[in-house]
Symmetry: C2
Subunit: 412 residues, 2 copies
Amino acid sequence: MIDLDRERLVELMTEQAEIGTTADGGLDRQALTDADRDARDWFRDRLEEAGLEVRIDAIGNVFGRREGTDPDAAPILVGSHLDSQPNGGIYDGALGVVAALELVFALNDAGIETVHPIEVVDWTNEEGTRFQPGLQGSGVWVGEYDLETQYETTDAEGRRLEDELERIGYLGETPAEPQEPYEAYLELHVEQGPRLDRSSADVGVVTGVVGITWGELTFQGEANHSGTTPMHYRNDALVAAADVATAVRRIAASLGSDTVGTVGSVDVAPNSINVVPGEVTMTWGFRDPDDGVIERAREEVVAEANRAADREGVALEYEETMRTSSVDFADRCVETVDAVAEDLGYERLRLESGAGHDAMHLASVTDAGMVFAVSEDGVSHSPEEYTSWDDCYAAAETLANAAVRLAEPVTD
Amino acid sequence: MIDLDRERLVELMTEQAEIGTTADGGLDRQALTDADRDARDWFRDRLEEAGLEVRIDAIGNVFGRREGTDPDAAPILVGSHLDSQPNGGIYDGALGVVAALELVFALNDAGIETVHPIEVVDWTNEEGTRFQPGLQGSGVWVGEYDLETQYETTDAEGRRLEDELERIGYLGETPAEPQEPYEAYLELHVEQGPRLDRSSADVGVVTGVVGITWGELTFQGEANHSGTTPMHYRNDALVAAADVATAVRRIAASLGSDTVGTVGSVDVAPNSINVVPGEVTMTWGFRDPDDGVIERAREEVVAEANRAADREGVALEYEETMRTSSVDFADRCVETVDAVAEDLGYERLRLESGAGHDAMHLASVTDAGMVFAVSEDGVSHSPEEYTSWDDCYAAAETLANAAVRLAEPVTD
């Protein structure tokens, strides 16, 4: 087993947390801003300090390569993302990048060689707040997104992604695609949910990423004076919407203990205390590890919305705005993470990720796996996000040892 | 019975509809604007044309007086309001003012004297959109609102009511209060609801105005990632709010066929498809002719909100933001309106007003009654508001003859 330098891990975390810091101690380091450039520069300096060969690809992903002993062996890729939400926390994906850096520093310190090369990566625009979609760098790299299309995406001020990559000096020359087959991909990220924190586990062994259906429902009724319109003459869009909000909770409960269902957004028009709501637009969202369950959830929410619209005499329009399939991580990666954590003496919890991660994309081109660090109270995308140094260390140590095991250390 | 001049009624309606007209054929004639001033000037000219003595009081109410034969007899007051919503229709209260004008023109044409004086009135700021509260002129006149306090009310640009009254030339010298006891008050207004239009009735005989409870509920839960937060760890403010929206409909249905209950406004934070709602603010509104029912509705919605908050583990704050008592119009006025309409051969529907009107205030100082004109489809406060000339005439003829009957015509 390889020992990480806990002090250096904390120091690296602290250094990156000082780039793009907000007044309340969080981060505003959205993709391709000056703060993101500074974080990338810091990352590149650390890669070079560790003696790694750095390359930047055409979508701005930054790689550092530590060669293996076998020139024909496929690399193990380890990393995450340094960009943040506009009001994010200091852990999120940054902990995963720092843990990958610490892995190579620790290998250097111990003089350990591996059969397979180890590459460390910072993916471009995981968050998707300034430019959409999120997971942009990894999506292009695995061929899920088209590079030229992504170049044309713009931020709220109309600035093109390609121009911003060039402006900050990260429009790289390496093609944004794998240059060779990869052996495996491992990613450490904070959980962003409460399951680890509310269990006795030290680290999370991620088995996959749930599938998603997102959609939008619009009920069109008739806006009328709330005092002069008798109940039986009403076509109240909000009454129908409330039925669906209640049904989403019921549908999630009926489909399984892993299913989550949420109405996150409701917009009422004209939204006046004195007017019967004429139009309501609301969202649905369901996630589950089983794609069949996702499909049933979509069918049931639409059926429920139709029934509610019929009861209330309002028109319904709906659209499924996003559907993603669930992803199962490679058994080999899951088992390696689990076994390593056990060997390190950590209590593990196996769980699906409810949020999307770059590892989802990577799973389409190589064996992928993930380690989750504890998120206190499950808080994320907030300056309040917190993972204790103990929990950071446990997750980083698990990640590092899993990567080394897959990279096959050369025993001397 | 007195015959109105249908052509003149239409002409008067058309003339006033040309003051403050919007591009879509509606009216923007908010209180104390230039358009309101022009409408007042037009009204004053018509009063003088009819030979009435005009007086303007300290809150801008405009009165015209047609003397009776008995110097000791108390006057019959007839009128409504010429101000409109920012995007209102041409009927609303204007039809009531025009009908009162046509009444005095018709009395003049027929050479009819009455024992009691007849006064025609245009009340200041019924709508309450530019300055709050609405029903402002009648409220001051009956002593419900304090004049000096109302002078200090300001519009969105900070302009004081008193200054605007002075600017448009309607800060009158007559004290804003009854100068003598009044015999009765009659008001014609469009229904602003669908009940007459969906019945076979030609005119509405208004028996009173419903009481109101308005309130605001705020559920405070916890905003969390919608993908990573299992259902049993959620405190979803919207789930509680949806329960209450459904309950408002049920509470209204359980309390009586005259009860209306509405959730008009819902605001969700952060209102993102991907976040469990952390806070929801919503309104309640109930109206009923029975003040006891209003109190029960308030109790029940608060009890339901508490149960919903407990179930979901969210905090609840609530406030009743308005309560008005119901008003019963004087039997004498109701019966006179009904009898006159019957004598004129009109089908009548007796109904409570679900909206507030100046007659509510007048009922505290004299016998008050109202006539409703049909509102097509119940549409009001909209350029789409429509009352056919037949329906305008039926309501105006009913108003005029009820006023004359109360004023006791002198038969020669």
